[in-house]
Symmetry: C3
Subunit: 399 residues, 3 copies
Amino acid sequence: MAESHAVRGTVADGFEPVRDEFAAVAAAEDSDFAAQVVAYRHGERVVDLWTGPEITGDSLLGAFSASKGAAHLVVALLVQDGVLDLDRKVSHYWPEFAVEGKQDITLRELLSHRAGLVGADTGFTLDELADDRIVAERLGRQRPYWRPGSAFGYHALVISALSGEVVRRATGRTIQEHFAARVRDARAVDVHLGLPEDQESRFLSAQPAVATPGRAGGPAAPESGANSLSGIAFNRNHPQNPELWTLPNHRTVRAQGPASLGGVASARGLARMYAAAIGSPDGTAALLKPDTAAAFAQIHSIGHDLVTREQKAFGVGFHATSEVYPVLGQGAFGHSGAGGQQAFADPRNGLAYGYSRRRFPVPNGPAPENHRLIRALHAAADGRWTASSSDLARWIVVG
Amino acid sequence: MAESHAVRGTVADGFEPVRDEFAAVAAAEDSDFAAQVVAYRHGERVVDLWTGPEITGDSLLGAFSASKGAAHLVVALLVQDGVLDLDRKVSHYWPEFAVEGKQDITLRELLSHRAGLVGADTGFTLDELADDRIVAERLGRQRPYWRPGSAFGYHALVISALSGEVVRRATGRTIQEHFAARVRDARAVDVHLGLPEDQESRFLSAQPAVATPGRAGGPAAPESGANSLSGIAFNRNHPQNPELWTLPNHRTVRAQGPASLGGVASARGLARMYAAAIGSPDGTAALLKPDTAAAFAQIHSIGHDLVTREQKAFGVGFHATSEVYPVLGQGAFGHSGAGGQQAFADPRNGLAYGYSRRRFPVPNGPAPENHRLIRALHAAADGRWTASSSDLARWIVVG
Amino acid sequence: MAESHAVRGTVADGFEPVRDEFAAVAAAEDSDFAAQVVAYRHGERVVDLWTGPEITGDSLLGAFSASKGAAHLVVALLVQDGVLDLDRKVSHYWPEFAVEGKQDITLRELLSHRAGLVGADTGFTLDELADDRIVAERLGRQRPYWRPGSAFGYHALVISALSGEVVRRATGRTIQEHFAARVRDARAVDVHLGLPEDQESRFLSAQPAVATPGRAGGPAAPESGANSLSGIAFNRNHPQNPELWTLPNHRTVRAQGPASLGGVASARGLARMYAAAIGSPDGTAALLKPDTAAAFAQIHSIGHDLVTREQKAFGVGFHATSEVYPVLGQGAFGHSGAGGQQAFADPRNGLAYGYSRRRFPVPNGPAPENHRLIRALHAAADGRWTASSSDLARWIVVG
């Protein structure tokens, strides 16, 4: 194992298997592989690891869609406060939204990716994508791409611009401002929707995926056209569409922190954000009451996602994460990112988790190593699930 | 073929291929394989077979989830009588149910596995699982695990405790009492939700699955955690969760006959129950009018089941059985059991079927041999479907 | 390559790859393979090709379910005119429909294959299938096969008899009469719902599929029974069910042109019909306003189709064609046919397409060669999508 693959950092007693798994992940990657993984159990940080050149535990990486978790934590807080109501119509807060058949869409439907506003008919420039208000204004005028209520699809680059506009209309402050005040600063969470200039030195730029025959083993999607729904959702219908992996490398994106994709974070920050959401890493009260967490984790959209053309499961603004990692508890909620990120809270098991890496995986999306790391974490946290479990437990009961 | 594999019993003229298929099934199993299969056509018993040591045609075996078919036949009768209304809210009958966002859930939604009450946050002891009233009271207080209306999932151990509570509140009698009076005793159906002491001598205990490399060929579910939705639904979140296969081996389960899982039956009983539902095995009137049977067989929930994580299809309280066995007619309804049981009525083809076995299959659920037996039964009953059918008939029309 | 495989006709500059692909398709088929492919871009016919013995560019072939596209273009025109309202109940137009739980089904639900009237309990004779009024009257009396609102399934042989009855009740004229006046005659579209006697000489009879071991490589559906939902939808529950491929070979079918299956068309006609729908092949105005086209293309039913037992996506009366060919644009709409036909409009890419062949493919449904031809057409029309695109573009973004 090359020096660059050394795993640094600490784990609590009993969590050594997570370190071993992380070392095994790193050993199978290229020599420049750089990643961070952090986990909390019941408010205590039990895993704090990183590997690779240049990177430290404090390095900041592009969060990509894991940013949506930060944004929707704000929405959850505002619902908990009674400032927002999930069952109100979006147009109650944002009257201009009530056009083209969208007048009855509720905030709940919007946040569960059901509104059918996955992108713009004409696409966006980089500068437009970096500005949530421009995105919201453009989409607020559009017709939904499917009949509201009939289906759902991942609003990959725009969901939090839309929910952010609701927040701005209802409170007079942006979702970024709320996040900075109530989560980042109040709970010392190293996640940024808008990276201050003085933190720039900790940022490590994202790196492109390197496709090799051996790596291209994942499920290939059919080649979708630039004007297809997937193409529109990923802005491929715009002639100057920036490549996805480059987004956080633009200062305009980092500075404005568009809430769907432009966050910057350490894995420490991602894990601590979810630990603070459901528990008390420093003895402070959890940000979310159990009822609020349960309401946002509740599955709302499950089945065929019109954009990704895969089986997906969304709660309210978050992924229903245990649908992806069945070892997790019912009610787990979080959000992955296209650059390999994964971050979530699992209230039933008392876990919070953050993972980030510098180089895009192939295929992009939550990196496959998360499955290994999360299994190891769960096994370490819960003695009941070990290799010695009856093999029969592997068989699901269907009678 | 060892003596233990000899097939005993009788078939009507023309149904010899079912006996041959059953013999072939037995020959491929271990020497202690014990099973029963019975079928009716247009009210006449045309298949009555059993095989294995100890077992006879009158032996009683654990019915597991096939019990739900007995329970929901009672519900269908009460709806037919006008005592229950599927479109009434559950809370109309059971006011304490109207908490935690459940106030608008209808009986129809509950029976189609849409209420999101698949288990208890803290799990159940064996004694609790055996008592439908305790299960109902516990779940009546809970928040649904998903947003009512957004999804469905198999309420594996609890559905008939919930529907049973509605029956008890509406009529003053338990679902078990109704079943005994209106089905078991009135129609001589050898199915018991609560096995009388004097019938105990006919009971053969359930046997655990034997996993072997050769048998483990079915689709393995991802290893779901004890606190996952699947874990909760199968009570794996309780530290003293009894193994599923042992349930009918406890006298407390057999005696109380919890209506989701605790029935005891012969295959003769299961088949006769469905024959009586749609026809007249002894010249008596069918228990269900065609309209009632059609209403309960009508598909209500189809697609991704949140608990089993598989494609499933439910009618009202029953499986839409022809989704599993496409050779059957539209409108077939029944229920399988985790121990390999399968039982249903197929009104369009005039068929009723019951199958049970003593040893749990791998994976558990309706045993794979049901596919072979049901195809043979259908072919024998309907000369049009034979091996000489055009090969082209195997290709579905999709234009 | 035998003479019979020579490709005849013309392509516009830059569309030679479509001709090459068509030649490659033909070369892989039997010597009697006969097919037509035609495409428009922005109102200009850019592909006009045919191959095989007897056939010319003007030959007429059975359109099978591609007929539904013609029928529902009429419905779209009537909705655009304000004569029909998709959100009105079917029973508003057709009072006798309001029985057996169907009173609240809307025209929109009917057209998105949600009404549950996929066939008749007793099946149809050939003469009945050829007469839309008989089909409509029979089904108008029936109970839906699933709970309206809970699911959808392809109304393979009957959907346009049902929508046609609404048209007839609302306007006093049949869907066939509207089509002839407003589309066929007004826009010189060589598609016929009811083939005039004097056009008979151009008709080439349909030919049965030839199943060979090499060809039977597609996904085989489970063998569904004659009384299953699939069996009923394809009329296999009738003892004298005509084989599907023979339908257009009966003069009674061609003469009456039942709107679900009985159309007769050239590929020129099919492509021109969709070109006229969204553009102006001769400088005339598009038949449909963009809003109307978008409303009918909007996805309404997606997921498991109860009849075909496959993943399907329907708009209003049309297939959501880009779900089948992801290279196409969002909002593409059209309809395939069991005999291999495919036809659609793709407004975002300015394309219209028609394909037909004489011999049924194996499996039947839209022939697999459409994938190749459509990819070639799209690539020729849009220089951005070429083999030189980054391989990474093949991987879908899921983060």
